[in-house]
């Protein structure tokens, strides 16, 4: 194959012109892009500032409500007077049909209240009656972050302080009455998905201590109506520009650390 080299001076002039046009087009493109981004970022910075201000105001109100253990308005907080940010925070207890624990690390346990607990008197009342087969306590769980098959140790303490132990083992079939039957599926609860579901009929129980075995696990509960598991501090604020922030802090009822609960040595 022969390669032809063009040594014509006229042809060389055309090539120089083409390169010049291309470099000019590239320079114009870069300048236009920088100008557009600069205007966009200016706008976003403004919104971010409002958002941060709103979030800070919400957190401040929340903190004030926790300390007050009651409602606090932003107008009560000197720092936000005249800021144009409005809103309030309050402490509430909820008895809902569903409850989802935080992600429990392996060997952590969660004290799930099956009756109404008074932190002031350290007393229990109004135990759930979930003895009806059609109205059981449904327990969901799903491991997160690796580990083995999630398993739950359930320690039920009734009003006579009698203890009943149960086990939910998602991987091993039940061997005896202590093991609850586990169903596998896709279960959604309060925005969380769960992989396993077990049901339990109970009544006259103060608490149920759920210990997470094998793997970090999130546990969900559902029933026709559950008892309060703690207090919710809810704060909602709005800036003058219309930016709204709503945050929520859940404080559980007293939790016994598993390291202090399980006999070990």
């Amino acid at each position: 194959m022969n390669i032809q080299y063009d040594n014509n001076p006229e042809a060389q002039k055309g090539q120089v012109l083409l390169i010049t046009v291309m470099l000019l087009a590239a320079a114009i493109t870069v300048v236009m892009t920088v100008a557009f981004n600069s205007r966009t970022e200016t706008q976003m910075t403004k919104l971010e500032e409002d958002s941060q201000k709103a979030l800070s105001a919400a957190e401040a109100a929340l903190e004030a409500a926790i300390q007050k253990k009651g409602r606090v308005g932003l107008e009560d907080l000197q720092a936000f007077v005249g800021s144009g940010i409005t809103g309030e925070a309050d402490i509430v207890e909820r008895e809902e049909n569903e409850f989802v624990t935080p992600l429990l690390q392996k060997d952590e346990q969660y004290t799930f209240y099956l009756s109404r607990y008074s932190s002031t008197s350290n007393s229990y009342s109004d135990p759930l009656d979930l003895s009806n087969l059609l109205n059981p306590l449904t327990i969901y769980h799903k491991s997160e972050g690796g580990g083995g098959c999630p398993a739950l140790e359930l320690i039920l303490i009734d009003f006579s302080n009698n203890v009943t132990n149960k086990i939910i083992d998602s991987c091993s079939p039940p061997l005896n009455g202590a093991k609850l039957t586990t169903s596998t599926g896709e279960y959604a609860l309060k925005g969380y998905s769960f992989a396993y579901q077990s049901t339990l009929n109970l009544s006259n129980m103060k608490v149920m201590i759920v210990r997470v075995l094998n793997a970090p696990t999130r546990v969900g509960f559902s029933a026709s109506q559950l008892r309060s598991q703690g207090k919710f501090a809810v704060s909602e604020v709005k800036t003058a520009s219309g930016t709204t922030k709503e945050i929520e802090l859940f404080q559980s009822h007293p939790q016994i650390p598993s390291d202090f609960f399980v006999t070990s040595f």
């Binding site: 709503e246 859940f250 598993s258 070990s264």
Partner: protein, 843 residues
């Protein structure tokens, strides 16, 4: 011309010779008288005196009646008697004859002379008669030449001697040969002397040419030895003159041989040797069988030979031999000395070996050093033997081999006099079941060896030793000094490993143990067939392991305090026991290892590798320990047990085989669980400081009400401390030590002690509290106060390494009993708790 002469010369000579022969041998009657003489027709010149053309042999006429016959004859020569007158003279009664009388004596007594005759007439009938031929008248004479022969005048002088050693006779004679004419030695023969000698002897004669000088004749005249008469006569054809008869004495030559020597019994062909002498130059070795009388044909002989010795090939038997020599000088004759074939001298030949005896194995003698092996004897009967030779002084050779081809030979007696051999002499024994090959052979004194007679036999297998049983029940022993044993121990057969050690054991001994929950039965067998050197004296010891029990042993007298029986001697070969009862003692761990804990309710996570062996005959801690039936069930956790977690290996509980299930029915456990510890007194203190109210105290006296009390350094709680009564208290010390020096059973109180370290005095036996610490010391190892500790609440050591130091005199009971009290937790919930916060942004 020369050719012509050559032709007539032989003719002439022929005629001359013929004439000579005719003269010397006159023939009569061969011609016809009166025929014309022709040359040669009348040989005798007297018959043809007229020469050729005359008539032959004038006829001699004879008359017989009228018949005339003529005959020629020597005495009628020249008879010219006319023909018979047949007329008148032949009349009967007439005797008118005329005939020539006989010639008278010759005029000479020897030699040629004249003889005359007269014509004799008898004229009876007046016949005219005349003699004829020649004609002559009566009384006429007629003469003629005559010749008188003379016999030899000299006698030979003869002598006869034997010609050497032969049977020839040499006759010598002397004859004085003075000539052949009258009066000379040979005399005269008118017909011509034919001088010769004639040797006359009985039975024959021999004519010898007369030669001059001493005459001799050697000849085989006689067919036998003896004395013969020989006479030598000189003959001249006309007469003879014989010598005096002389005797020829032919003496047989003497042939000598040396005396035959007897051959005693021998196995080889005898070299028959003899010397022969005198005249003998050959010898004959003669051999007869079974008889000493030698007679040809012999059993065998050498034939005439000049060599010695002669070695006949003789089979086994009795023979006789001798020799006979001869001379081979011609004529061949046997020597006659001895005159008769001598009597044979004995030869005894034995080439026949004995019959190899039939050996047999037997007499298997156990080898004391190896009872399953045997010294083997191999015997045989007396070998039968024929022949002159007896069995040798050491007539037998026996061999034993492990191979049928006897390669190699294991045992070889060499030649021996005995009829048995034993491997014991070499100290070698053989196992039962071994096939041995034996062979024996015999020989006689002449080394005639028989072939091998082979036998094979298999050594019987020894009787198997009996199988013995060693059996017994299980006994749980608690005190090292044997002061406490509990029988009827029930074991988990799968966890009990019982084996018997059998010493010595080269693989010959086997044991098999059958294990049940309540007893064992071990059989011990010795394969003394497969292991021939199996030692029947065995020392049997037990080797057993069972879930932390050590040792598992036999004890003397089957008694708890019996000394450990290291081994049981058993002799399998003589009255072994059919069974031996041996209870097996399971020594429960002693000392610090004997301590074990038990729980009531709760879950348990093991953080330390431990041996928390539960005895088979476990006893309850106290009446609050267990209220289920049976009360002494062997659970780790009675009542409502939760999860039991441990890691194997790493934090194994090792509850032993006695544990029923380790813990009660409502349980869950994992054997490969690595627990994660998150909280600690320090962290909790941090939490308390930020979230809870607390009060710092230095003694329990500072406790006023329910709450959290912080112990900054150390705190000691004495027995019966009333400051704790009726309060819900959490004593918290993140870095300090809380010492419990006495029992804590506050009235109406709920107590939790959370500290870096908790020390419990050995004397403390009951604590109603939740004990949580990084380390907990519950008592001294040397504590022999038999104080067991009961914790009514909980016991949690957050770090590994907890040791149950409570040692009881009797390990049948747990030394630590933890009754998990959940209500205490609920009572202390405001203090012994944390809160979990979950923050989230909803919008």
């Amino acid at each position: 011309m020369r050719k012509y002469s050559f032709f007539y010369t032989p003719l002439f000579l022929f005629l001359l010779l013929t004439s000579i022969i005719a003269i010397r041998n006159p023939v009569y009657g061969q011609h016809i008288c009166g025929q014309l003489c022709t040359f040669g027709s009348c040989i005798n010149p007297y018959e043809c005196p007229g020469g050729v053309g005359a008539r032959c042999g004038l006829a001699y006429y004879q008359c017989s009646g009228t018949t005339e016959s003529q005959t020629c004859g020597p005495t009628k020569l020249f008879d010219s008697t006319p023909l018979c007158n047949t007329v008148g003279c032949n009349n009967p009664g007439t005797t008118d004859t005329a005939s020539w009388g006989s010639y008278g004596a010759c005029s000479v007594s020897c030699g040629t002379g004249t003889e005359t005759r007269i014509c004799n007439c008898t004229d009876v009938n007046n016949c005219t008669v005349a003699c004829v031929s020649p004609d002559g008248a009566c009384s006429a004479t007629d003469s003629r030449s005559c010749c008188v022969s003379q016999a030899p005048q000299t006698k030979p002088t003869a002598s006869c001697v034997q010609s050497g050693i032969t049977r020839n006779a040499q006759v010598n004679w002397v004859f004085n040969d003075t000539g052949s004419t009258c009066g000379q030695a040979w005399g005269y023969n008118c017909a011509g002397n034919t001088n010769s000698f004639e040797l006359r002897f009985s039975g024959g004669k021999s004519t010898e040419t007369a030669t001059s000088g001493l005459r001799t004749k050697t000849t085989d005249l006689f067919s036998n030895w003896g004395t013969y008469t020989v006479q030598v006569c000189a003959l001249n054809g006309a007469g003879e003159n014989c010598s005096t008869a002389v005797n020829c004495v032919l003496t047989a030559p003497t042939c000598t041989t040396s005396a035959a020597t007897a051959f005693s019994c021998r196995s080889t062909n005898p070299p028959l040797a003899a010397t022969y002498g005198n005249n003998a130059d050959q010898i004959l070795f003669m051999v007869e069988q079974n008889t000493s009388t030698m007679a040809s044909p012999f059993h065998t002989d050498s034939g005439w030979t000049s060599s010695s010795p002669y070695t006949p090939n003789l089979a086994t038997g009795t023979y006789y031999w001798n020799t006979y020599s001869r001379s081979t000088a011609t004529p061949v004759v046997a020597c006659v000395t001895p005159a008769a074939i001598p009597t044979g001298v004995q030869i005894q030949i034995d080439k026949t070996p004995p019959v190899a005896p039939v050996g047999s194995f037997g007499g298997y003698t156990p080898d004391p050093a190896c009872l399953g092996k045997y010294f083997v004897s191999y015997s045989w009967p007396i070998a039968a033997d024929t022949g002159c030779a007896l069995l040798a002084a050491e007539p037998y050779q026996g061999q034993i081999s492990l191979e049928s081809d006897y390669s190699p030979v294991a045992h070889d007696t060499g030649w021996i006099s005995t009829r048995t051999m034993s491997t014991q002499t070499e100290g070698i024994s053989y196992a039962g079941g071994t096939t041995l090959y034996g062979q024996v052979r015999a020989r006689d004194s002449l080394s005639n060896q028989s072939g091998w007679n082979t036998t094979q036999a298999t050594i019987p297998l020894p009787t198997l030793y009996p199988t013995i049983h060693i059996q017994g029940t299980y006994v749980e022993s608690f005190a090292a000094d044997g002061s406490e044993c509990v029988g009827s121990m029930s074991v988990n057969p799968t966890g009990l490993d019982i084996a018997l050690n059998i010493v010595p054991n080269d693989g010959d001994a086997t044991s098999n143990c059958t294990i049940t929950e309540s007893s064992y039965d071990c059989t011990v067998s010795i394969d003394n067939q497969g292991y021939p050197c199996a030692n029947p004296n065995k020392n049997i010891s037990i080797s057993a392991t069972y879930e932390g029990y050590t040792p598992v042993e036999w004890r003397a007298g089957n008694a708890c305090d019996g000394a450990p029986v290291s081994s049981i001697p058993v002799n399998f070969s003589s009255n072994p026991p059919v069974s031996t009862a041996r209870n097996t003692y399971f020594q429960f761990p002693t000392g610090a290892q004997s301590s074990w804990f038990k729980m009531n309710g709760g879950s348990f996570t093991s953080k330390t590798q431990r041996n928390n062996i539960i005895p088979n005959s476990a006893q309850i801690f106290d009446t609050t320990d267990d209220n289920i039936t049976p009360p002494n069930n062997k659970y780790l956790i009675i009542q409502d047990a939760g999860a039991v977690l441990y890691q194997d290996p790493g934090t194994t509980l090792n509850l032993g085989a006695n544990a029923t299930e380790g813990f009660s029915a409502n349980n869950y456990y994992g054997d490969n669980y690595e627990a994660t510890s998150i909280f600690s007194p320090g962290k909790f203190m941090d939490y308390v400081k930020s979230r809870k109210q607390y009060k710092t105290i230095t003694s329990t006296a500072d406790i006023e009400a329910d709450g959290i009390y912080y112990v900054e350094e150390a705190l000691s709680i004495a027995a019966g401390d009333t400051a704790l009564n009726n309060k819900k208290i959490v004593l918290l010390s993140d870095d300090g030590t809380i010492t419990i020096s006495g029992n804590i059973a506050p009235t109406g109180a709920s107590l939790a002690i959370i500290a870096d370290s908790i020390i419990i005095a050995p004397a403390v036996t009951e604590i109603n509290a939740i004990l949580i610490a990084n380390s907990i010391d519950i008592g001294s190892l040397d504590n022999n106060a038999d104080n067991k500790l009961k914790v009514n609440g909980n016991l949690i050591q957050l770090t590994p390494g907890f040791v149950n130091k409570r040692v009881l005199n009797s390990a049948r009971s747990p030394s630590l009993f933890i009754k998990v009290n959940r209500s205490t937790y609920l009572d202390l919930l405001p203090y012994l708790s944390i809160s979990i916060y979950d923050w989230r942004q909803i919008q």
